[in-house]
């Protein structure tokens, strides 16, 4: 909170804003979590069924399943390449498994299992909840920090077997009989032991093969089960495991929802709804979408981006205090300070609004604070109404256009949304073609999509929509009577009144976050560019007047590293260190005002030499050059291009 208040624009209402921001974020997060749970439910349920079925078939003793008993049941869960999202899926998967199927679930990641013994160790640790010793490990790792209960045990699956038998015996008989017993065949309550490999691709194939071989030796005594998390395609299993190993598995495939569908649902529920007062403008939306589509496919990162935008909005926009529920907003309007009202008067959209008013009204708006507050209340109500109407109409338009050939207005609602955010959609060329195509559509198709529009509009409560709905129903009736031509105007008019871009709405700045550059800078960082900017124009970061230059050249007074960088840009792939030093010394001594012709130029001072070496090693550290063995006294450039 302190961070938020500090350096925040308009500090007086920062606390309210912080609270609003937090509430909103909590709500968004809760909603997305519910949403994602729902989306994952189907696949998780089928996985749970699979585990249940596997554990139950084990206990069947008919001939066929006995013949098959040596196979380890394996679920190959194909999750897509959006790796950052997987964690949550696996988290809820293992929770669900623990709740409903078996208490014995261990999930492992590739990076913690470099060698077979580490994999073993992790699996055993997670299943048995004890400290496991791997013999030639360092002392501190196996140090017995925990209580005596956690007896350190040897790292082998037979230990696990004993433990498992003890555990199931105990739960069955109720006595802590920890004896070495042969497996209890007739025990109906044998929960399977599930091992989840979160990222199959990253595992060392050799380790995995050995582990599976070992496990298959124990599968008769221990009801093991694997879940492979696969990011690419199921054929990786065949690439990783030879036939002799994969024949030990009984693999079943589970395909999760694709991430684009996932995102579409999230956008649908999160962005395209009047429920949340906070909105993103077209550019920010574009940035977030392009990060998703071009870079990572990660829904989690998308939501993180929304979070960032939310925080930034409340942080930088003092009027964001009005960005909340209707009642609160109206209340907050009354509590606005004079300063805030001034900033409202400076808003672009408000000025546009004022210009349209009568001169007397204009004067009032500028002079009278209480009058302004009343107007603001009205405007906020208008904005809310606009949102209420916007989304249903957007969806209607989408249903009408999404079935058109070649998708002039995009396949997804979000594309249409972006178009609408940018400018008046009816001025768009694609919109015209879409309308033309719509006129050519077969009658029954048109009626079907109009029917769907009616369904969308039905639950909407606002007055205008009610009216539109009635009109639409009339239209539908007319269509059914083959009377097409007369009613075209209606369809095309509906979007005009409701789909105008939000920028045209007064006070849109309250709800819309528009700084796409900030989002881009924060989410899609360009470290290389900023380093280069720092090196080639140090003034940008240091703000030192003496460093200011006109045409992109580096002044002589710039830091050593900048000079060295500048000089190195003039070289080819290999740089002669001595030449570089000479050039550097010339530049620096010129900066100190020495006469370049005097004696001490030839003999480079020790201090300068040291400074040069430091600059060069800093450049090496930043990855611009590296030492090379191709030529003595030379370094190799790692970047290309130059002046």
């Amino acid at each position: 909170e302190d961070h938020f208040t500090n350096g925040c624009e308009g500090a007086d209402n920062s606390e309210i804003r912080f609270k609003l921001c937090q509430d909103l974020w909590h709500k968004i997060r809760a909603d997305t979590e519910v949403l994602q749970d729902e989306l994952n439910r189907k696949i998780l349920d089928s996985l749970l069924d699979f585990t249940r079925k596997c554990s139950s078939t084990r206990q069947h003793s008919d001939w066929a399943s006995q013949m098959r008993a040596s196979e380890i049941p394996t679920a190959a869960l194909v999750l897509g390449v959006n790796v950052p999202d997987h964690d949550m899926t696996f988290q809820s998967l293992s929770e669900l498994l623990q709740q409903s199927v078996t208490p014995h679930v261990a999930s492992v990641q590739a990076k913690e299992c470099g060698a077979l013994k580490h994999l073993m160790k992790r699996v055993l640790e997670r299943l048995m909840d004890t400290v496991v010793t791997v013999d030639d490990e360092e002392e501190e790792e196996t140090e017995q920090t925990s209580t005596q209960l956690h007896k350190s045990v040897h790292c082998s699956l037979s230990t696990l077997c004993d433990w498992y038998n003890a555990k199931t015996m105990k739960s069955k008989t109720g006595t802590p009989g920890k004896k070495r017993s042969s497996p209890v065949r007739d025990d109906p309550q044998q929960p399977p032991v599930v091992i989840i490999f979160k990222d199959l691709e990253a595992f060392n194939p050799k380790v995995l093969q050995d582990f599976i071989l070992i496990c298959s030796r124990y599968v008769e005594r221990l009801p093991l089960m694997f879940i492979f998390g696969i990011a690419t395609s199921p054929s990786t299993i065949q690439h990783m495991l030879p036939h002799s190993v994969s024949s030990l598995l009984c693999i079943e495939l589970f395909q999760s929802l694709s991430c684009t569908q996932h995102l579409a649902t999230v956008i649908d529920k999160l962005i395209l709804t009047p429920q949340f007062p906070f909105k993103l403008n077209g550019k920010v939306m574009q940035v977030l979408m392009s990060i998703f589509l071009y870079h990572d496919f990660s829904v989690r990162n998308f939501i993180k981006g929304v979070q960032l935008a939310l925080l930034e909005h409340f942080h930088s926009q003092p009027l964001s205090v009005l960005c909340c529920k209707k009642k609160e907003a109206l209340l907050n309007v009354m509590q606005l300070s004079h300063h805030d009202l001034e900033s409202i008067r400076h808003l672009l959209s408000f000025r546009r609004y004022v210009e349209k008013q009568e001169p007397q009204e204009q004067l009032n708006l500028f002079r009278d604070d209480t009058h302004l507050k009343e107007v603001c209340q009205k405007l906020i109500k208008d904005l809310r109404k606009y949102h209420k109407n916007y989304y249903p109409v957007l969806r209607c338009l989408h249903t009408l256009t999404s079935s058109l050939p070649r998708y002039p207005l995009g396949k997804q609602v979000r594309e249409l949304h972006l178009i609408c955010l940018e400018k008046n959609v009816w001025e768009n060329e694609d919109y015209q073609t879409a309308m033309k195509l719509l006129k050519m559509l077969a009658k029954d198709e048109l009626i079907a999509s109009l029917q769907r529009c009616v369904e969308i509009l039905q639950p909407v409560k606002s007055k205008k929509m009610k009216k539109a709905l009635v009109e639409l129903e009339e239209l539908l009736a007319k269509f059914k009577q083959l009377d097409i031509n007369s009613s075209w105007a209606n369809i095309t008019l509906a979007p005009r009144s409701h789909l105008s871009p939000p920028e045209s709405q007064t006070l849109n700045e309250v709800c819309y976050y528009s700084s796409s550059a900030t989002v881009r800078r924060h989410l899609n960082a360009t470290p290389r560019t900023s380093i280069q900017a720092a090196l080639s124009s140090p003034y940008y970061y240091l703000q030192n007047e003496s460093l200011k230059t006109e045409d992109g050249t580096v002044s002589n007074a710039a830091p050593d590293i900048c000079i060295a960088y500048k000089l190195h840009l003039e070289c080819g792939r290999l740089i002669n260190l001595y030449d570089w030093l000479e050039a550097y010394a010339t530049v620096v001594s010129a900066a100190e005002g020495n006469n370049p012709d005097s004696d001490n130029v030839r003999k480079v001072e020790e201090v300068k030499h040291a400074r040069f070496i430091q600059a060069v090693s800093e450049l090496e550290f930043l990855g611009f050059i590296k030492s090379t063995k191709q030529k003595t006294d030379h370094v190799a450039r790692l970047t290309w291009g130059g002046c």
């Binding site: 790796v83 030639d136 070992i214």
Partner: protein, 412 residues
Amino acid sequence: MTHFTHIKMCDLHIYSYPSIFIYGHRASGKSHVMHVLLKELELPHATVSCVECVSVALLFEQVLLSFFGCDAASLLPRSPSLSDFVRIYRQQCSQSPAKQTRYIVMEKAELLRDTDANLLPALLRLQELVEDNVTIILLSEIVWDKFRPNTGCFEPLLLHFPDYSKGELQQILSQDRHPSYTAEFYSSYINILLGVFYSVCRDLRELRHLAALNFSKFCEPLAEGKVKETDTHKLWRNIEPHLKKAMQTVYLREVSSLQWEQMQQMEEKESGALRGLSAHTHVELPYYSKFLLIAAYLASYNPARTDKRFFLKVDRFNFTPKNLLNHLLGPKPFPLDRLLAIFYSVVDNRVAPTASIFSQISSLVTLQLLTQVSHDDQLDAPKYKCAVSMDFICAISRTVNFDIVKYLYDFL
């Protein structure tokens, strides 16, 4: 099994041969024979699987455990050496001297080659080291010649387990018959099964697996009362196409056994819907990742000197005769900056060199679509290789409207 008579012939006072090496293909009965023999004759023995022994300590522990009980095993220090093992063994063995030869059976002995260099030679003459009547039996699928260390070692007694012949397979497979059918019926089924599969697979385990999976189908006409048990010809007509299909799917593990069973329960016409594992090769990737992968593929299969020709907008002349197709040689490593250079010229619009571009490269590595050739620790100028197939990259480039064949040196 007659090979083994000499083992039990061993006299109490004369030590048996210190080490025996048994080799034969997978599922030729090595472990089974050893196991049954040692069990039946009630000989003291320890069976260790070398895969399981992630460290030698586990190996030592298991041996001591099965010979002298857990007390002896607990005497082993943490991270024991071979001499620790020998010391404890001798100590224990003087307390309880052997009445009979003790046997240590090591399965999958080929893995011993990867352990410490002195372990295998020492085990081969363990008898001398511990001065006890102990015999090491190594079981392996690899011939002894591949084991022999450079420094030379004690030569064990070599035994070969030949593959089973068709008749033997028939006999063995007929053993595990279904309890509710007669032995003749089952053996005729096995006969048919072998007729189909013997030409492609002689692995007993696989055959047994297949036999179990397809038996219910075989019995189907019987259950419906269409055919009598003795009418082998009709039964054969019924099962043969089915087995052929099994050869393409289950045998290759395209379809798991569970799914196969479900498929059998379904109607014939529907079963085509189930696709095998390798049918799912489509991978959805972010836009720039696709281009990065394309660039990596080009960098891997085009010689670096031809880059200029492809990516500078100049006329393409100066064809050098190519002597070898690069695609036959496999992917070549390329440095990161070459990848990026090609990437920027391949992508149509301007892309900022953002951190996420770089992180996409490393996530491609984790997805095993690229492989890092240089060591992980080497931060400057890392080298990569492209690890995807021609078909895969063609499919990817089709989705982004990029004609990759035009840019490949081999197909010019």
